[in-house]
Symmetry: C2
Subunit: 350 residues, 2 copies
């Protein structure tokens, strides 16, 4: 029976025992027995005492027993309690920080590379599967627009925004359009759009533009369509996943059916985006097992943080089994987020 009063704060000994069980279980993936604990963590009490405490912890819902004659494993509430009330994050060591910073600096010219590198770094350090959601960068202004003829009847529209994003589309142009036409089209477009807000562009009186350049109507139409297309397409967040293989090492996913569920989620960008909680500012957010929205992910845990790019919030984190090294994962994700923010601020915001 309980002591009558339900105490949210556990006494030190219970905490110590809960922690021991969590550490052992996370390491071995096996139920933990009373004797094993006393030995390994050399607590100065007997196994019988531990058993009593364990019974209490079970009543509180922090532990559970797979079957009568097995040891205890932490319940999801157990992990939750640990994460909320006891855990200390294990941030990256200096070497790792340096390594990451170096990786980033080496790839700074190419934004895609940066993301990839961070992802694979994160998954390597944590040994879980990492994900990075790159937010839609809602650029405000066109910086630069250019039509480049590529071959007969084909051209490429290049748009650069003030946030340094480059987009392109191939379009068809009438073969009659010559290089002088192209040049004047470019001039017109740049004069018209450069520095304009996206929202303004949408209201731009396209009609007048068409009238203005009736002769090259066809080419201009294509170009406008392409630009429209480009600006629409930025609606999609990009998802980068790394270290899926790490999943296979977790004993909880030796069951092919479970594995398939997980991989299915990871393969479908939309499902994953749906699963991940919103990044709420700075904090590292931890979602444990059944706390997850998707049924298919009820046996997974997610550790995630938000980072800022050009005013938008992106998400970065890891996903793994409920039996996760939360201390390491949370610390690493936090460090990585900080470093991303720093690097971005320094190199992309001027």
């Amino acid at each position: 029976m309980l002591t009558g009063v339900i105490d949210m704060t556990l006494d030190e000994r219970k905490k110590r025992i809960l922690e021991s069980i969590i550490k052992d279980y996370v390491e071995t993936a096996e139920p933990v027995g009373s004797r094993a604990i006393v030995k390994k963590h050399n607590l100065r009490i007997s196994a019988a005492t531990v058993r009593n405490e364990m019974a209490d912890l079970e009543d509180l819902g922090y532990l559970e027993q797979p079957h009568t004659s097995a040891g205890r494993i932490p319940s999801e509430s157990g992990f939750r309690y640990y994460v909320d009330c006891m855990m200390e994050r294990e941030t990256l060591v200096d070497d790792e920080v340096e390594l990451l910073q170096k990786i980033l600096k080496d790839n700074l010219q190419d934004w895609d590379e940066v993301i990839q590198s961070i992802g694979s770094f994160l998954s390597q350090v944590t040994r879980y599967t990492s994900f990075i959601i790159v937010p839609t960068i809602k650029f405000d202004e066109f910086k630069y627009i250019q039509l480049v003829p590529v071959e007969k009847g084909k051209a490429m529209v290049i748009v650069v925004t003030d946030t340094g994003v480059l987009m392109h589309r191939r379009i068809d142009v009438p073969e009659s359009v010559n290089s002088r036409d192209v040049q004047s089209i470019n001039e017109v477009f740049n004069r018209l759009f450069a520095g304009k807000k996206l929202t303004e562009l949408r209201r731009t009186d396209l009609q007048s533009l068409r009238d203005d350049l009736k002769k090259r109507k066809k080419a201009i139409d294509s170009m406008l369509e392409a630009i429209d297309n480009l600006t629409e397409n930025t609606g999609e967040e990009k998802v980068v996943i790394s270290g899926i293989l790490n999943m296979l090492n977790e004993p909880e996913f030796k069951d092919l059916e479970k594995l398939k569920k997980i991989l299915t989620i990871l393969e479908a960008d939309t499902a994953l985006k749906n699963l991940l909680p919103e990044a709420s500012g700075e904090a590292v957010d931890i979602t444990i097992g059944r706390e997850n929205r998707l049924d298919e992910a009820k046996e997974m845990s997610i550790v995630l943080a938000g980072y800022k790019v050009f005013g938008e919030i992106g998400r970065v984190g890891v996903i793994g089994p409920v039996r996760m090294e939360y201390w390491k994962a949370a610390g690493t994700v936090e460090s990585v987020r900080t470093i991303i923010d720093e690097v971005l601020k320094k190199h992309y915001h001027g």
Copy 2:
């Protein structure tokens, strides 16, 4: 005993039996017994006769027995014989062809999208894992070079080649460089490079260029470095893989260790490129089991064909278990290759 003479060409009845065994085995993944065959494919002979023939086929090395009291399964030589001497490719039906063509047309503006779509189409139709290797396009000529200032001290170098490839790099420029400088730099670069072969560029007398524009030396150096960088980086073929999940459905990979091996290969671009045979012109190439170079892929089969882009050869195909529907895979890969070639020719070569 054999008939004495070793005949490479099997008689009709043996062929029929071999084929039946292959079809059944591919479908069920279970050893096939003599009775089952007679029934299912209603051959007009008795099980005992089939048994005799099967014994012969085993002596020839085309069948093997997991253990005495099991049925037979095709050996790798068996599959090889079937593929070489008997198989008829099952090409895409019209609906599928149309679907693919539609998918391609919808995504034509973006080369990356095209590749992705083809990959996922291929893996969906075959139910195996598909791969596409996009070759290095060794562009010959610079079409267009542009330096676009993005924010203070930062700019973007954009290069378009005559093959319609767009590349970019972010670079640092001294803050003193103003928009007039940028314009004149652009003019110089375009005058100098446009239409130049890559090889020529490397020999271009950069010294004179520098002298010419001493004042903007810093910016120009950065730009040259970026361009150099870009042209070097094209050394990497791109690898796109799709439908990895299909692997999980194959009973031969229910063993986690095997699965891990395969996924490891698929995750490492270099390993995969190494594994895949060179695409030899037009033909569909089939590699069965131990014919593969990598030890880790001795239980896999690969069906692959080459396609041409701008004179370079790319590779497209599927990878799956030795127990593969070669007829379907080969036919599909062939169809897809043809369609890629057509679409590329029509839309990218002018």
